[in-house]
Amino acid sequence: MSASAPLDPALAARRRDTVLGAIRRNLGRDTAPPAPEAPLPPAHPRLAVPDEDLVQRWRERWDARGGTSALVPTKEAAVEHLVAWCREHDLPAPSHAARPLLELPWPADWHLDPGPAGIDTQSAVSLAFAGIAEVGNLAFLSGPASPVTHLFVPDNHFILLEAAAIVRHFEDLWQRLRHHLAPAGGDWRERLPRTLNFVAGPSRTGDVEQTIQLGAHGPRRVHVVIFTD
């Protein structure tokens, strides 16, 4: 048998039919059930998030998980804050940033590369697609302007988040995502990014003696700057 024989299309089709056939037989029927035309998103129970101030709620949850955050009025103020933050905490200036952020007034000696992070990348700046107040998560969409490696490779990850992008529940995010991908209607699924990433603070592990340790494989420090305007 050659190494690629298991990938033979005819064999693959037979395996598929056998598995689907076995499922149907064990469910007591011969064919697939009639598909619902457009399956509506089911309304599942949610956690009560009574907070009026979603930014406050989001920050409480985020900070409770080892992340840090700050609230500033504008994107420009976010830049100033980040420069001060790096100096104050003796952190190296970021070397990478998401493309839409390059136009911000960064210091002249910050050379920001929109390309993917490499093994030596110490620090990167990203723009979050949304925040989820329910659990203090951030959501990111991968794409030409937002490399996935920026989220996982650097030791220090800085994130800009627009206050208005904080939603209450995951269900609100799904609605926003569907609209974002197909603002003028059409099939939102045609424009899905390769990944949708949720982040809830620094990388962590409890694999040695159940003791939580930050900085397992991903960033050790994650700092979010929320801008309101």
Binding site: A3, A5, P6, L7, A12, R15, R16, V19, L20, A22, I23, R25, N26, A32, P33, A35, P39, P41, P42, H44, P45, R46, L47, A48, R61, R65, P116, V135, S142, P144, P147, V148, T149, L151, F152, F170, E171, W174, L177, R189, L192, P193, R194, N197, F198, A200, G201, S203, R204, T205, G206, D207, V208, E209, Q210, T211, Q213, A216, H217, G218
Partner: protein
């Protein structure tokens, strides 16, 4: 993975006398139970979520073929490929062929129980591939040449001193036996591996039919580095992992992290949909999903369907007093604890895994904490019934049960024997406790038995009736 379920009794005995293991288990049980309880207490809706998850998962399983077909269609639409495997051997063959076609030399792996189930690492090693487990716990047990002992905390049985010894032996370094020191050591070692890997293999906590996404949750970020930096991303998943919509995935994710680690979400939740897009600066160039049946479709038809609701959180084993006493290795295969006591006999055979369901005390804690309300104690009892029907129970036990039945069918004889036994046992008691029982030393060596009052319940009841 080698099946060692027949060695349950000697391995359990060994575990009970391993001081390092006992220390690690005592440490872990307290942590898991307390963290989950706290997370659940913060969510008044938890019970409603459990009930909704039970109902929804049953609906999905009843139309599993439909959702799998839809899922496959969407994976294709985003540029990925779906491969169906009827059993472990086919799954291994497909993944080996994908690695060969990619000209791979190194494989990085995120955590995947299905890959343990199909014995993937051994097969890839046979082909001369270098396989690195990247979840810290999985990495530790890989270095120790051991299987995982817990589905979400694979190295829960190791102390930090043991981990430091392993690292010293394999890395040629002298890491500090502290938690931060060991985590940093592993981070630096694995960092280079991520960047040189050809193929990245991850599991899937969920597959989403409407988007063709595979979802993984991790706290370390290893699953993400694995899939992002490799040229080829291969996902291994059981066929029961599919859910219809993003909203459904949210329902189960709300239960998963709280039940598993007591967090309101894990640090990273990643939805992967196909290979990198034309203009993407990073991500894998190929995306494959291997859907593994391996006995699952058969479970749909019988009394075991409810077991397919399992979302692999590990809460049942964290709350199991038997698991807490002997750890995961004694169970002898991939899935330990209560879920393993049901799944393992179904996967490897009712006789081969005979002892697993019979070690259960039927205390019921697993069923109470299961986030998808699998009636684990009922299913464990059902496995025992199936073993009884197949005549697998030991002859001595069968004779004892036949004898008991004969007595129980004759009330006068039964009560007579009971009166005799109660009086006999009462004479053995000192200060209300029985410290030693002939023939039952395995029990009384570790604990005392309360001595009976000298009269049976019925005698006391009738006496009470006369008094009133």
């Amino acid at each position: 993975m080698q099946i060692r379920t027949r060695e349950f009794v000697p391995r359990a005995t060994f575990a009970l006398h391993d001081p390092n293991l006992q220390r690690a288990l005592a440490n872990a049980a307290g942590g898991f139970i307390g963290k989950r309880a706290k997370a659940v207490a913060e969510v008044p809706e938890f019970e409603a979520l459990r009930e909704a998850a039970r109902v929804r998962k049953d609906e999905i399983l009843a139309e599993l073929d439909l959702w799998l077909e839809r899922y496959e269609e969407r994976v294709r639409a985003v540029g990925g490929q779906v491969h169906w495997a009827r059993d472990a051997e086919e799954a291994r063959a497909i993944i080996r062929a994908l690695c060969a076609r990619a000209g791979a030399k190194t494989v990085a792996k995120g955590k995947s129980m299905v890959s343990e189930e199909i014995g993937l690492n051994e097969a890839l090693a046979t082909d001369g591939l270098e396989v690195i487990e990247t979840d810290l716990g999985e990495y530790i047990v890989q270095l120790a040449k051991e299987p995982p002992s817990h589905i979400i905390a694979p190295a829960v049985h190791k102390t930090k001193e043991q981990v430091a010894e392993l690292f010293a032996e394999h890395h040629g370094t002298t890491p500090e036996p502290t938690v931060p020191g060991l985590v940093t050591e592993a981070r630096e070692q694995l960092r280079c591996q991520f960047f040189r890997t050809d193929v990245g293999i991850t599991g899937a906590n969920f597959l989403i039919a409407e988007t063709g996404a595979s979802v993984i949750v991790t706290n370390e970020g290893n699953g993400d580095l694995t899939q992002t930096l490799a040229r080829v991303h291969i996902v291994t998943a059981g066929i029961e992992k599919v859910v219809p919509t993003l909203e459904d995935a949210t329902l189960f994710l709300r239960l998963l992290a709280r039940s598993a680690t007591g967090q309101d979400s894990e640090t990273y939740t990643t939805y992967s949909m196909g290979p990198r897009r034309a203009d993407d600066p990073d991500g894998p160039q190929e995306y494959h999903v291997v859907l593994v049946d391996n006995g699952r479709s058969r479970m749909l038809g019988g009394p075991w369907r409810e077991m397919l609701r399992c979302i692999r959180c590990g809460a049942c084993m964290n709350h199991c007093p038997v698991y807490g006493a002997i750890g995961g290795h004694a169970y002898g295969w991939v899935y330990p604890g209560p879920m393993g006591s049901v799944l393992t006999p179904l996967f490897v055979g009712l006789d081969t895994a005979y002892d697993l369901p019979n070690a259960c005390t039927l205390n019921g804690r697993c069923g109470e904490v299961c986030p998808v309300k699998i009636p684990l104690p009922d299913l464990i009892r059902e496995v025992r019934h199936a073993q009884q029907r197949d005549g697998l129970h030991p002859p001595a036990e069968q004779r004892a049960k036949a004898l008991w039945r004969r007595a129980a069918e004759r009330p006068a004889l039964y009560h007579g024997l009971e009166r005799l036994a109660v009086r006999l046992l009462a004479t053995l008691g000192q200060n209300g406790r029985i410290r030693r029982l002939p023939g039952l030393s395995a029990w009384t060596d570790a604990r005392d038995l309360p001595a009976p009052a000298g009269r049976t319940f019925l005698e006391l009841w009738h006496a009470k009736g006369r008094d009133q």
